[in-house]
Amino acid sequence: MAAKEKVYKILLTVFMAAFGIVCIFPFIFMISSSFKISADVMKFPFHLIPERFTMDNFVGLFTNGMYNFQKWYVNTIVMTALCIIIKIFFVSFTAYGFSKINFKGRDAIFLVLLSAMMIPSDIMILPRYIIFKNLHILDTMWALILPSCVDVYFVFLLRQSFIAIPESISEAAKIDGCSHLRIFWQVIFPLAKPSIATMALFSFTWAWNDYMGPYLYISTMDKQMLSVGVKLFSSGLIQDYGSQMAAATVVLIPVLVAFLFCQRFFIEGVASSGVKG
C-alpha cells in the first residue's frame, strides 16, 4: 500500500511538473531568446543555451534612435514608487479610521464603499478622462497614481488586519494620553507590517503592469510607461525577434524577481485573506 501511494505521488508530481513547465515556458523562451541573435530565435530545434551569445539586443534597447526606452523605464519606476508609497500611507490611514475609531455613521459609510466595488472599471474610463482634464493631470503620471489610491480592496484588507490587533493595545496607548494620530503611526502601523507588505507587493505589480491607464490617459511619448512602450517597440520591429524578447525581458524581470523573492507574501497573502470554505 505504501509503495503504491509513493508511485502515485511521484506520478502526480511528474504531471504537475509538466504543467508547471508549460506555465513558465514562455518566460524561459523569452530569457533564452533575448541573448540570441535574431536569426537564431526561430531556429529549430530550440536551444535553451544560445549558440551564439550576444548582449546586443539589450544594448540596442537603450541606444536605438527611435524610442526612448530608458525614459520609459525611469517613468515607470517613479510612477510605481510613488504609487506604492502614497497608497501605503493613504490606505492605512483610512483603514485606521474605519477600524479603530468609533465615529457616527462609520459602518454606513463603509458599506457604501464596499458596494462601490461592484462597479466595473470600464464604465469609469470616459468620465475619468474628463475629470483628469479638468484637474489638469491628463497626460501626467498623476492620472495613474491618484485613482489607484482609491483602492477599496486594500482599505478592506487592512481594516481586517487592524481589527485583528487587540483593542487593549490601542486602549492602553489612549490611556497614556496618545492621540489617534500617534496610536496609528507608532502602534498600529508597525504591528500591521506583514499585511502592509503584501499590499505593497500587489500594488507594485499592478502599477508596473498597468496598460489601460497609460494607453488612455498619457499621450506624450516621453511621458509614456513601459507597458505601452514595449508594445510600440515590438510592433515596430516585426522580424527582430531578439530585440522583442529583450524588451519583454526588461519589462518582466522586476516583477518576476520580486515574485521569486517574496512569493510567500504573494501566495499566502492570497490564501489567508482569500475565501475559506
Binding site: 459602518d107 469609469m124 470616459l126 489610491c149 482609491v150 514595449v230 519589462v251 492570497v270 475565501v275 470554505g277
Partner: protein
C-alpha cells in the same frame, strides 16, 4: 484591476463577518452618546477618512454618476462639452440595432464561455492534485502562480512570437507531421486562443484560493467516507466539492466579472483582429470612444455591460441556495 476580487471580498464580508462570526462590525459598536468624548471621537474619525472620501468621490463616485448621465446625452467629442442635448434612450436603441455592436457582445459571451469553465475546472483540479500530496509542493505552486504577476503586454510579445509562423513550437509540430494553424491569426481560433492565454495568466490565483479552501476540509470526513467505501471520485464529488462550494461560488462570480474585463489582454495580443474576430465589447467601447469619438454611445455600451454583470450576479446570488452549502 482586481475588480472581480473586490467583489468577492464584499460578499465574503457580508456573509462571514456579519452573519458568521457574530459580526466584527457590530462588535465595536458602542452606544453612541453625544457626549464630549464622542464628539471628539467623531471629529477624529472624519479627520481620518476625509482625504479618502474626497478622492473616492472625485475618482469613483462622480465618474459613475457621470457615466450614467452621459449615456442619455449626445456627446460626440469627449473634450467638447457644449451644445449638450438630452436624447433619451436613443443611444441604447442604437446599440441593439447595430449589428457590429451586437456581434462584439456575442464575442464577449463566447470569450467568457471558454474562459470561465476552463479556469474553474483547471483551478480546482490543480488544487486537488497539489493538496493530495506532491513533492516540491511550494515550488510547483509558485510556477503555476508566476504568470499572474507578469505584465500582460510583455507576455503578449512572447506569445505572438511563440504562436507565429516559424516559431520553434510550430516547427516541432510540423516535424511530427502536424499542420498547426496560426492560432492568433485564425478567424475562428483567435478568440478562444486569447481566452486560453487569459486562463494561463489567471489560473494561479484560482488555484491558490482553492488550495486554501481544500486545506480547510477536515481529514476525518474524508477518512469516514473512505471507510464507508467511497471511491476517490465519489469522495471528491460528495465530500470535497460540497465543502468548498462557497469558494466555488465566489470564484465563479469573480471569474465571470473578470472575463468581461478583457481589454488589455486582447488589445495586447490581437488589437481586436484578425478582421473583427476578437473585437469584444471592452475593445469596442474604447474604440467607439477614442477613435470614433462617439462618447455617449460608448458610455451607453459600458452601462449595458454593467447591467449585464449585475443581472448575472443577481441570478447567481439567488441560485446559490440550490448548491452552495455553508
Amino acid at each position: 484591476m482586481p475588480t472581480a476580487l473586490l467583489f468577492v471580498r464584499k460578499i465574503h464580508e457580508k456573509l462571514f463577518l456579519q452573519a458568521g462570526n457574530g459580526g466584527v462590525m457590530q462588535q465595536n459598536k458602542v452606544k453612541i452618546k453625544t457626549s464630549h468624548a464622542q464628539k471628539k471621537e467623531n471629529r477624529a474619525g472624519y479627520f481620518f477618512i476625509a482625504p479618502y472620501l474626497t478622492f473616492f468621490t472625485v475618482f469613483t463616485g462622480i465618474p459613475f454618476l457621470m457615466a450614467i448621465g452621459m449615456s442619455f446625452l449626445n456627446i460626440k467629442y469627449i473634450t467638447k462639452l457644449d451644445n449638450l442635448k438630452f436624447v433619451g434612450l436613443k443611444n441604447f436603441t442604437k446599440i441593439f440595432s447595430n449589428k457590429e455592436i451586437l456581434d462584439s457582445l456575442w464575442r464577449t459571451f463566447g470569450y467568457a464561455l471558454v474562459y470561465v469553465p476552463l479556469i474553474m475546472i483547471l483551478g480546482f483540479a490543480l488544487a486537488v492534485i497539489l493538496n493530495k500530496g506532491v513533492y516540491a509542493k511550494n515550488a510547483l505552486r509558485a510556477t503555476v502562480f508566476m504568470p499572474y504577476v507578469s505584465n500582460i503586454v510583455a507576455v503578449a510579445v512572447i506569445f505572438k512570437v511563440l504562436l507565429g509562423s516559424n516559431s520553434p513550437i510550430i516547427q516541432q509540430l510540423q516535424s511530427w507531421g502536424f499542420e498547426p494553424p496560426l492560432l492568433l491569426q485564425d478567424l475562428k481560433l483567435a478568440l478562444p486562443t486569447t481566452a486560453v492565454i487569459a486562463v494561463w495568466k489567471g489560473l494561479g490565483l484560482n488555484m491558490v484560493v482553492y488550495l486554501g479552501a481544500l486545506q480547510g476540509v477536515p481529514a476525518e470526513l474524508l477518512e469516514a467516507a473512505q471507510i464507508d467505501g467511497a471511491t476517490k471520485w465519489e469522495r471528491i464529488r460528495h465530500v470535497v466539492f460540497p465543502m468548498v462550494s462557497p469558494t466555488t461560488f465566489f470564484l465563479l462570480i469573480s471569474s465571470i466579472i473578470g472575463s468581461l474585463q478583457n481589454f488589455t489582454i486582447i488589445q495586447a495580443l490581437t488589437e481586436g483582429g484578425p478582421g473583427q474576430a476578437t473585437t469584444v465589447m471592452s475593445v469596442n467601447i474604447v474604440r467607439t470612444a477614442f477613435m470614433k469619438y462617439d462618447t455617449s454611445l460608448a458610455s451607453a455600451m459600458a452601462l449595458v455591460m454593467f447591467v449585464i454583470v449585475m443581472i448575472i450576479t443577481l441570478i447567481q446570488w439567488y441560485g446559490q441556495k440550490k448548491w452552495v452549502n455553508y
